[in-house]
């Protein structure tokens, strides 16, 4: 009885694992199939021979490298600037004393319930007026501050002892030097976590880049892929190769730093 139960549980875990993983396996496998090989019945799980031609097509005829570079610049840009901006604000909310601090912070937190879609049209019109549509700035500038990011840093910075900051002040360090030399190094784990969230969130984002990048040369990977899908819907193997290339960068970053990512989910889920 005890043994059967044990085997049942392990089997169930394996079955769920297989179902979770199968779409990825098939995607990778189909991306190496020859044209048309993924469209036969019964479906083939493995390519008859490894064929790189779809990857080659993506880079030569379809200029995928351009979209990869766009995605990289945007994701790294948002990550870099938002880390600076959010860490400064998060530190201020954690350690500075000023009137209305609590009500301001609570106001920010409660406005997290407003869905981003509400602001999209006004921000689009504003960026259009500023001539920033079809530029990297259209994604980087609005992404520079996030309430979630400020919240995450603040939660972490609260644990830094006041005495440390006080001592530095007595030694004559300026507020900016304290931030730069004490706070940032101590906050490194949470900065990695937030950086990871921001990078992956920006890389995977679809709706906003779809709206502000109207010129095809400025598409990000997900937008380029969705657009290719419209034109090459019959070309299963090519679409799978495109999907693999869209997923791989985030996957590498995630696998290298998953500890921080998982930690971030839990940090974000425990308020106060």
């Amino acid at each position: 009885m005890y043994r059967t139960k044990k085997y049942l549980i392990v089997c169930l875990a394996i079955i769920i694992g297989v179902f979770t993983f199968l779409p990825f396996l098939w995607m990778i496998s189909a991306s190496f199939m020859q044209t048309g090989e993924a469209n036969i019945y019964p479906p083939k799980l493995l390519p008859s021979k490894i064929d790189f031609s779809h990857y080659k097509t993506l880079f030569t005829n379809l200029d995928l490298s351009r979209y990869l570079i766009n995605s990289l610049i945007i994701s790294l840009g948002v990550t870099f600037f938002s880390l600076i901006v959010n860490s400064m604000a998060g530190y201020a909310f954690a350690k500075f004393k000023f009137s209305r601090k609590k009500s301001l912070f609570n106001f920010l937190l409660s406005s997290m319930i407003i869905p981003a879609q509400v602001t999209m049209l006004p921000v689009f019109l504003m960026l259009k007026k500023m001539g920033l549509i079809n530029t990297y700035f259209a994604i980087i500038i609005p992404g520079m501050a996030s309430i979630f990011g400020i919240f995450l840093i603040r939660q972490y910075a609260l644990s830094i002892p006041d005495s440390l900051i006080e001592a530095a002040r007595i030694d004559g360090a300026s507020e900016f030097l304290i931030y730069r030399k004490i706070i940032l190094p101590l906050c490194k784990p949470i900065l990695v976590t937030l950086g990871l969230f921001t990078f992956m969130g920006t890389w995977n984002d679809f709706l906003w880049p779809l709206i502000v990048m109207t010129d095809s040369s400025m598409y990000t990977m997900p937008v380029a892929l969705a657009n290719l899908m419209g034109e090459h819907v019959q070309d299963t193997e090519l679409m799978m190769a495109g999907s693999v290339l869209t997923i791989i960068p985030v996957l590498i970053v995630f696998l290298a730093l998953q500890k921080y990512y998982m930690h971030g989910i839990l940090m974000g889920s425990v308020k106060e």
Binding site: K5, T20, T246
Partner: protein
Amino acid sequence: MRSSVNIKILILFLGPSLIVLTVFFFLPVIAAFFLSLTDFDIYSLGNISYLRFVGFENYVQLLNDPLFWTALKNTFYFVLVGGPLSVVVSLGTAVLLNSKFVPFKKLFRLIYFLPVVTTLVAVSIVWKYIYHPRFGLLNYFLSLFNIGPLDWLGNPSLAMPSIILMAIWKNFGYNMIIFIAGLQNIPLELYESASIEGANAWQKFKYITIPMLAPTTLFVSVITMIGYFQLFAEPYVMTQGGPLNSTLSIVLYMYQEGFRWWNIGYSTSIAFMLFVIILIGTIIQFKLQKEKYV
């Protein structure tokens, strides 16, 4: 606590984030509300003097717009069926991975989590082919049990369930991590004393696990609901809202009205309706949870 910092320092540290949030979030929310009271369209986009203030006309029109009701109905279908299913699968897999019988817990957790971090557009494309009526893996798998073939995304009554299935696959890992942490915070003594009193596994789950997880469940339900109300990329990539508008969601409708037809006033009123719905949904969930457990 430190003494008050001077205002210059405060501006230096808080200024950048508050300026960005004000210019790109708070003011646009207010601007959106005003836009939703106008007939801003493609003509006003060219010449602002065509802009007319119409009061709540857009909202009235919205309530008389069959497409809006369709989008609303579809989105509620997705949230009310997909949301709870998604939470149940997350809880189930969390309990499973918390079991002492499962080896390689970290590996399983990682595999279950992979769909969460992968790009939604890419996996939507993969699933579109998995759902292919003739060559898709799903129909092949079902044919082994003499079921099908079914036209998953082409059949109006199957398209939304298909999107829900994919959304559950994509998202359950995130909530699973939160549930695992919640499960590990339940004191083991509770289970031990229940065992001594002769409680079986189901009773322990029902009378210890579920109540102890209530705050976690509330959090998970609220973020899942908020996320699911914003359904967009899956129908955009997989079905374009079809067949027969059966997967047209509120955000997809907002996108089409605003950024394809440039009915900006009308589109922002759709966005505001989404906000109000999410707000009401969140309040209801908090109320329900309170009545049950506090």
